[in-house]
């Protein structure tokens, strides 16, 4: 291979198999150093890690940045909120907000009054408790709008369980959201603005409760 190849052109695709000086092939597995000598420019050094083959001149920074990102994501994986872990347990389940659940359970109760010809079908205690609880916590006048607005947060990485907690809590501020759902704190910078917008939109949809202060 020519050492100072004038006609050597750098391939734009992955450089893992870049031909280089004999020295570099004997170097450690962690990185390869390739030296290119162009016509009029001084020597330029590119460091390539095995994992990526970026060919930009900022590969140095890029390489370091990538390893930093890999480490950061690993530490995030170590401390997930239980809500996230249990999303895997209930893979086929759709997470419901209390207002959505109230609508569904109320619908079933209405059906039951029609089907009450069969006296042996009695609604269990947990049904009534579930209905009572969901109706007490159903605080929005329009559940579909709330669902649509909060689903926009999904593209910022918020999972369904977190969206339900946010909806059920009726938070006044983004501070409250980050305090109640600590798993979102890591994405605070990304989520701050979209969350503020979402809360502003759903606030007028709240039912006015005469007993609340």
């Amino acid at each position: 291979m020519e050492k100072n190849g004038k006609g050597f052109s750098m391939p734009k695709s992955s450089l893992k198999s870049t031909p280089s000086k004999d020295d570099s092939s004997q170097k450690s597995k962690e990185g390869r150093k390739v030296q290119f000598n162009n016509g009029g420019s001084p020597e330029e050094r590119f460091d390539y890690s095995k994992s990526n083959g970026k060919s930009s001149s900022s590969a140095d920074k890029g390489g370091r940045g990538n390893t930093a990102n890999v480490k950061a994501s690993k530490s995030k994986e170590k401390e997930p909120l239980e809500l996230r872990l249990n999303q895997e347990l209930l893979k086929n389940a759709k997470c419901l907000m209390d207002c959505e659940a109230a609508e569904i359970i109320q619908g079933i109760q209405d059906q039951m009054t029609l089907l009450s010809q069969d006296a042996t079908i009695k609604l269990p205690v947990s049904f009534h408790k579930g209905l009572q609880y969901s109706q007490a916590n159903a605080r929005y006048t329009n559940t579909h709008s709330v669902r649509r607005v909060l689903d926009t947060l999904k593209k910022h990485g918020v999972v369904e369980g977190e969206i339900s907690v946010i909806a059920n809590a009726c938070p006044e501020s983004t501070e409250e959201v980050f305090a109640l759902v600590p798993s979102l704190k890591s994405k605070k910078s990304i989520l701050q603005e979209p969350l503020e917008v979402a809360l502003m939109v759903i606030k007028p949809l709240r039912k006015v409760d005469s007993t609340s202060v």
């Binding site: 249990n86 959505e100 947990s126 409250e176 759902v181 798993s183």
Partner: protein, 154 residues
């Protein structure tokens, strides 16, 4: 919190229920068996919302009962660690108080004066799951948690 989930169950039906109303009988038996129960994995089954699929029945040797695999949709209530809930206080004792959120009972160890029928916002810090029941422990000693409504002031 509430979930909408598809579950599957093998239902055994006695031949006396066969005939024109086989499917209806199967569905009512399912409702009697499942609604109101609690499993550690899915939580409390609050209500069945629909039947997705009834598979082919298999006659069991020796008994004559037929087993049908039934897929059904239902609303379940399953509390999770880290979840924020609003619950109503049902019992107060020296160690703390019991609060109820839907079909779930949550215990909070607390020394602030609290009354029965108050509404509290709490965070679930632990769940113990049995084969048929779920017990929860909660806390109100965190940001944005605590008593919401006091029955004496309203």
């Amino acid at each position: 919190m509430f979930f909408h989930i598809v579950l599957e169950r093998n239902m055994q039906l006695h031949p006396r229920y066969f005939g024109r109303n086989l499917r209806d009988n199967l569905v009512s038996k399912l409702m009697k068996d499942v609604e109101g129960t609690c499993s550690g994995k899915h939580g409390f089954v609050v209500a069945i919302t629909g039947i997705e699929n009834v598979g082919k029945g298999l006659i069991r040797d020796g008994t004559g009962f037929v087993t049908f695999p039934v897929k059904y949709q239902c609303v379940v209530f399953r509390p999770f660690k880290g979840e924020i809930l609003e619950a109503v206080v049902t019992m107060v004792n020296k160690m703390g108080f019991f609060a109820e959120a839907g079909p779930v009972q949550i215990f909070v160890s607390n020394h602030v004066k609290i009354q029965k029928d108050s509404e509290v916002r709490l965070k679930i810090i632990g769940t113990r799951v049995d084969a048929t029941e779920i017990f929860c422990i909660g806390t109100i000693k965190d940001d944005f948690l605590g008593v919401i409504n006091d029955p004496t002031t309203t």
